[in-house]
Symmetry: C2
Subunit: 627 residues, 2 copies
């Protein structure tokens, strides 16, 4: 079979003739950027073919001499040498770890899904000669009544362990309302049971270890990104391609394993210590993590394989934790309201309070929940990944070096996470930047750049459209200009329009208006903080009293942490999922009208945004809101 | 590493220096006979070293020139060539299949642990858009209320399967009292669910498939035999040797897989059709099948790892059935009263009738149960494998060619199973032969051969002791004399003495005597039939009215068949195991006296056997009992 070699680096792979260079790159472990899932639609996967013969499929992009789209170039029978330019490489392949607030060092194991129980069993005698298994169960039932399961993998070593520890074992158990499952029996030093918590986002994964003294949070891009930026392109890949689902699964499982490796290393623990994994994520991400077929998620009537899964052996999925470890996935409500949202409801306590509140989660999709302890209703809007920094010219996930805040003070100013040299713009940065440019008249209310309104506005390379230069390449960490293109603005406007329209339809279907909502909570992984005023200014959030709006951060990870750190929360989030009613927007008669009306800055109907619509200007005193 | 090659055949293996030839043979797949587990105690593993240098450990056996014990010969650094003579080869390596009574062809799937349910699910719509998983569960709960589990391996393919079959799937479920577990969802042709039933004996395994039209029974030796004839030598092997347990497990799992392969081939089924395995066997055999550490079974207070196991994934043990298949093991009562006995109680209905009955199971050990619907008490006696034909000079398991009946009619006559040329003597043949020789005065009441009492009695080769020639080598299928040695008689006397003494102590502990027992049931795998009169004559069974004694065959396999063929029997046999009280004989003050007294033919106290003890002669008319 012909071999494809990639530069820089020394990766290469043998592939059958007819394989695209994009596919070959993925198989070789080379991460070439692609936003369309290899359908020739995004023009991102530009490579230079240095040697060998190929078949080039037609493309609508104007390519320079020597450039090819990796997805449109098919290997024939000869070996091929490929150079992947910087711009086509996926940024930040590696796991990023950050110190976060640590769990207290030397504290007892946290209140957790995992219980560690010190048992003192009576040694067997001729009078009390039950099997070791029964003796262990008797001890557990004396600790707490219930039905306990001991997998055969734990039983195998049980006789030796019980005698080694003199019948005083430390037993690690996951507790359920009716009993539990034994994950480990040891001597107290052999395993220090902890829980890996992971938010499996479409764009990025974020993980923590729930363990004493563990103070690290790790994040990485979702490696599936090379097959497309959103859930739809990933589902299409599972559908069109033999082995596509297995490939998607192995990519995300590999990501979780990399996060795990980084966290156990940073925390001085071992993989075997990780006896449970709690995963939140949207319905498609959980399907792909488990290898469940997702293709009917995108076809009417939009039905997934499973929304409620009991804990399953982590090894069945390929997670490299304790061989007896269990994987808990947060439950979904529907194909487009997933475990990330039920986690958010859990984390915010929305389902427990009498007052009516709204949760808006801006992931790659946007999901909205309205509810209280009385009822909950939810919907999903195809916002696209603009607010996650994916699919934009200079977008990045929220990581050190991401521009997460922009303001005007004798010019447009910005700052980055951890003060690192600028790498790109993350979600909260885009909200600020768009608001500032709107305020300064650089973009108009339709989202179009106003020629001559700023000396940073210039024609984009090779195109007639304008783009705004935020950071020149020489100041940027990648050496490349950090810009906002006209396409980026359009994406942002469509994304915020989809969210606002969805919220409007959901309110109307309940015969409510914004005044009924005591509290609007904005969640998402776009940064550590968000400027609420700017989110209102662009019309992402409604023009209500600002103290009714709150940024609640990554509630998907927070909710998963709650499940990990309590024996009751898994049952609680299951109940939340069953209580939520889903409103399907894609077939809703009003949605498209509301969406079109919302694709203005802030909205077609300026009266809806009185405080920010006066000639596009600022409310007096608004500048005090800036950071 | 030095290579050891074996003749006849072309097997060879590389082993580290210091490995015994016996171990090398096992690794090379060459089955060399050994009754002591390679401890140099049995003198069975004689081989001829043809080339290479070895270290020979001392031995108490007088070996001929050129003979070596495989277990006492250690490989050094040179390659070794070994010849394994016929007498040192394990007989009948292959699986034997026999036609037995077939389940009705074209019948619906039998009443079984497995249910096959044809569901008609409503297709999803925007109004009814629950996940496929929930839709399946809803259908199952409409069929029958309960909690159903769908493993992730079944979920993965579920969306495609449900749509392929137009929402009318055939669902295979194992049913429990509270719900069940889904093993397969298909189109009705994809899997024809059936159950493999296997009796895992210390000497031999016997298996059937519970499937429509399946009429085959398969049996084979337990490959662990090369490590010793009884459970104790096998346990010692797990204890003394790194990896011993894994080796024992892989041998018996290999045996089950061979039986499975033979049965699915004979029945025209596929491995994937086998969705459940039901295994009975003594406690040690079940431990070794599952890979549970057995070493404390033989140490006071004789405690095993587990006696009650919920169904476990068959794949966890290495059984090559449907990947979702479950393994059900019959429960044990104690370390020495195992699932073979609880199966026997189930099969005979002993636990359900008001009248007091006794079950005597003669496997490699002997186990006895006395009980009724009121109570059950049981014990175990170390009878040794004499009645299974193992450990005797010409012993064989009950298979075509085994001599299973002997009588006197102008000389000693015999017959074989299926009329095949004689291969050796199985359990029922030994009982008859010993009774006939006792009747003819060839052995006396102490079990000693009487010199000059028969022209078939002659000194054993190379020894001063006598042996009885039953079939000369030229008439035997192996070309080797079929004999009864003085050692064989001693083994048989000890075995029957152990059984009789155990029954006596058990009765006395209940303050009962034989008159209280309505029915004595003799079970075991020693043949299809047994001559009850002869069993009484040698003192294996008590001298009571013959119509109170019944031969019930292999009740271990029968009980396992019942579990496989009913959804309630698994719960029933669990309840039986919990109800049985175990009496430990090894520390019982009376047992040894009773054993010594019973090591006569029929017994030291002739008054206990009035009908058969008159001058060692026969009751009149007794010959009509012969077959």
């Amino acid at each position: 079979m012909p071999r494809v070699s990639f530069r820089p680096g020394d990766a290469s792979v043998e592939v059958p003739p007819g394989t695209s260079l994009l596919e070959a790159a993925t198989r070789a472990g080379v991460r070439v950027r692609s936003d369309c899932g290899g359908r020739g639609a995004c023009g991102r996967c530009i490579v230079h073919v240095e040697s060998g013969e190929l078949t080039r499929l037609s493309t609508r992009f104007d390519l320079e001499e020597g450039e090819d789209l990796a997805c449109r170039s098919l290997v024939l029978e000869s070996d091929v040498g490929v150079f992947v330019p910087e711009a086509s490489r996926e940024v930040a392949e590696e796991v990023t770890t950050r110190e976060v607030e640590a769990l207290p060092e030397d504290s007892p194991p946290p209140e957790s899904l995992l219980k560690r129980i010190g048992l003192e069993l009576p040694p067997p005698s001729l009078e009390d000669n039950v099997a070791d298994h029964d003796r262990l169960l008797r001890g557990l039932r004396q600790w707490r009544k219930g039905h306990y399961e001991v997998p055969v993998g734990v039983l195998r070593g049980l006789p030796c362990v019980l005698r080694e520890v003199g019948w005083k074992p430390q037993v690690t158990v996951t507790v359920t309302p009716t009993g539990g499952s034994v994950l480990n029996v040891g001597n107290g030093r052999s395993v220090r049971p902890c829980v890996l918590v992971v938010d499996v986002g479409t764009t990025a994964l974020k993980a923590r270890l729930l363990a004493p003294g563990s103070k690290w949070q790790a994040s990485c891009y979702n490696s599936q990104i090379s097959y497309g930026p959103d859930v739809i392109t990933r589902i299409i890949h599972c559908q069109g391609d033999e082995g596509g689902l297995e490939r998607m699964q192995s990519l995300v499982v590999g990501d979780v394993n990399r996060l795990l490796a980084a966290l156990v290393r940073a925390s001085g623990l071992a993989r075997e210590d990780v006896c449970a994994v709690v995963a939140s994520g949207n319905t498609t991400m959980i399907h792909l993590l488990l290898g469940l077929h997702p293709i009917w998620i995108r076809r009417e009537p939009y039905v997934g394989c499973s929304y409620h899964l009991p804990p399953i052996p982590a090894a069945d999925v390929g997670l490299e934790v304790n061989p007896q470890g269990r994987l808990f996935c947060l439950p979904s409500v529907s194909s487009y309201v997933g475990g990330d949202i039920t986690a958010g409801v859990l984390a915010t306590g929305l389902s427990e309070e009498a007052g009516l509140r709204m949760l808006v989660d801006l992931g790659t999709n946007g999901e909205i929940v309205i509810g209280s302890s009385e009822f909950m209703m939810c919907c999903s809007a195809s916002a696209g990944p603009a607010f996650e920094g994916e699919g934009s010219a200079s977008g990045t996930r929220a990581m050190p070096g991401a521009i997460d805040g922009v303001w005007y003070e004798d010019g447009v100013r910005w700052r980055t996470i951890d003060g690192e040299p600028p790498l790109g713009i993350c979600g909260s940065g885009y909200i600020d930047l768009l608001a500032v440019l709107l305020e300064q008249g650089v973009v108009d209310r339709t989202g179009r750049f106003q020629e001559g309104s700023s000396d940073r506005l210039h024609p984009a390379e090779g195109g007639a459209r304008l783009e705004y230069l935020l950071v020149p390449g020489e100041e940027a960490s990648g050496g490349k200009d950090i810009v906002l293109t006209q396409g980026d603005v359009e994406n942002l406007v469509r994304a915020k329009g989809a969210i606002y329209a969805a919220a409007t339809v959901l309110l109307e279907s309940l015969e409510l208006d914004w005044s009924a909502i005591e509290n609007i909570m904005l969640a998402g992984g776009f940064g550590d903080k968000i400027n609420v005023e700017n989110a209102v200014r662009i019309g992402l959030l409604p023009d209500v009293e600002r103290d009714r709006i709150e940024f609640v951060g990554n509630t998907s990870l927070e909710g998963a942490m709650m499940v990990a750190s309590s024996e009751d929360s898994y049952a609680a989030v299951e109940a939340i999922a069953r209580r939520m009613t889903y409103l399907e927007l894609s077939t809703h008669p009003d949605y498209m009208d509301e969406f079109v009306a919302a694709c203005f800055l802030p909205h077609t109907d300026a009266e809806k945004f009185p405080s920010v619509s006066g000639n596009g200007g600022l409310r007096s005193g608004a500048s005090s809101d800036r950071r």
